[in-house]
Symmetry: C2
Subunit: 148 residues, 2 copies
């Protein structure tokens, strides 16, 4: 950790630059290939992994605001990629689940996503990537702790 400030070595700055570059690259690919935004793609991914759930549950699962989830859900429902079944336990909420067509889309996207990840992170060997993920976890904890 440097004791005098150099912006190029200031980690919040570096992290932001790199993350935004990666996000923009990925977002552009999803948009061009599938017409999906990142928020929509995240919902599809989670619904494919964990099955149908309420929007509330999706908020916790994806770290997104309920407004973002709401709008992504509307967009996906309009395209018939997800179906909103009434929730028998709670009339206020719906259970969101992938439609047949949503599953087909997912089967197409998932390999593309993994391939993109591999290309972006190609220069880093797998053992280091494991440590990278761990560091991200610890950074997240550190920042969360700072916000009480």
């Amino acid at each position: 950790m440097p004791t005098t400030l150099k912006l190029d070595e200031f980690l919040p700055y570096r992290l932001s630059i790199v993350s935004n570059l990666v996000s923009d690259t990925v977002a552009e690919a999803y948009r061009a290939l599938f017409g999906l935004k990142i928020s929509e793609w995240r919902l599809v991914a989670v619904l494919a992994e964990d099955g149908a759930m309420s929007q509330q549950a999706l908020c916790g699962r994806t770290h997104m605001d309920k407004v973002t989830v709401s709008r992504a859900a509307i967009a996906l429902a309009d395209r018939r990629l997800v179906e909103r079944a009434p929730n028998p336990d709670d009339q206020r909420s719906h259970l969101l689940g992938l439609s047949e067509e949503g599953w087909r889309l997912y089967e197409q996207i998932a390999p593309e996503a993994l391939q993109m990840e591999q290309r972006i992170f190609a220069d880093i060997d797998p053992a280091e990537l494991v440590r990278f993920r761990e560091m991200l976890d610890r950074i997240q904890s550190g920042a969360e702790a700072l916000r009480e």
Copy 2:
């Protein structure tokens, strides 16, 4: 690198979550302590490090859009934290430099920034942080390569 997709291990996702959390934490601190946005803080930091320069140069130095730089420069000039001297070589551009007051602000912010960095990244030992920075550099190269 997993071969089936798990959003929680998908690096573009993890990177985005962690980076946004760190950015929001830092942004809130700058706002509360100094009334500065991240873009404004970046200009102050670069001008303090490297001396006066044109907005164009600031764009390259901070990876920010020229619009963002323009608005940050206007905000800082309004608060008399930077001064816009005419550029003798080019009537279109100004040379931006820190004012006396800008320097005083910088002297206050820089230690706070470093301290915040240390708190957020406290759980990671310095040797690993060096590798972390290197990995960020390589990720950036990887993503840049992907965009041609």
